[in-house]
């Protein structure tokens, strides 16, 4: 794994639509259920999200056999711009997901950063960053 940025996980997509309709899809519970885990293999999702700063959410993803629950709290919600929420699952607790919407050529860039160490001190030292550790791992396998 070779990452030049300080975040271990960052994904983005350019969507040809306006910010308002993307923001709506990211926050309207009924719409969230349609895209969040409505996968092809019989998966579905139930979403209860109170999308406002300090509001909480619960997202259940159902396969035919099991339900995987995720929950957290919205840390920051700026209409049509930015959503920050904590993410708890069976595997991780109090990780933080940040979604930002930015105007770019061809539409809106939806950028998602999942930070697995949100309590880390803010000092950014790239030679000492934790992706350096993962780079070390890659070098040793």
């Amino acid at each position: 794994m070779s990452q030049s940025n300080e975040h271990a996980l960052e994904v983005s997509k350019i969507i040809d639509a306006d910010k308002a309709s993307i923001f709506k899809a990211l926050t309207d519970n009924n719409i969230m259920e349609k895209w969040f885990f409505a996968g092809p293999d019989g998966w579905s999702a139930t979403v209860e999200a109170d999308v406002k700063t300090g509001g909480s959410y619960k997202i259940d993803m159902h396969s035919q056999e099991e339900t995987y629950s995720h929950h957290g709290e919205y840390k920051e919600v700026i209409d049509n711009e930015k959503i920050v929420f904590t993410w708890n699952s069976q595997a991780v607790s109090d990780t933080v997901v940040t979604i930002t919407l930015t105007d770019v050529e061809g539409g809106i860039e939806v950028k998602l950063v999942h930070d697995f160490m949100p309590n880390e001190e803010m000092k950014t030292n790239h030679t000492n960053g934790w992706t350096a550790i993962l780079d070390r791992l890659a070098a040793n396998i």
């Binding site: 794994m1 996980l9 994904v11 639509a17 595997a91 550790i133 396998i141």
Partner: protein, 104 residues
């Protein structure tokens, strides 16, 4: 288990210790040398790393040597890759949903 690994990795001193152990095995004194902190403080960090199974200590006489373990890092990397795939799929579905609803 992953939580304890992530916790152990969340401190820059501990990451720096791990990076130096990735170079070679070292005694506790050797590990402590570059840091302006007490041996006790370094030992505390080593304890956290050991609890997360990121290092193994071996004792020979009075000397304690630390060795890095890559196993837990492999799990962290697998978790990140899993989530990366997960979020990429979510954003793809979001895009498809929005583009489909524009057509309708």
């Amino acid at each position: 288990m992953l939580d304890s690994t992530l916790y152990a990795l969340s401190d820059s001193t501990r990451r720096s210790i791990l990076l130096s152990l990735a170079e070679k095995e070292q005694t506790v004194n050797e590990i402590a040398k570059p840091y302006e902190m007490s041996l006790a403080a370094v030992s505390k960090h080593l304890k956290v790393l050991e609890k997360a199974n990121l290092i193994t200590k071996t004792k020979e006489g009075r000397t304690i040597t630390c060795k890095m373990n890559y196993g837990p890092l492999t799990e962290v990397e697998a978790l990140i890759n899993e989530y990366k795939h997960f979020w990429e799929s979510r954003l793809t579905e979001l895009q498809q949903f929005i583009e489909q609803s524009k057509k309708d």
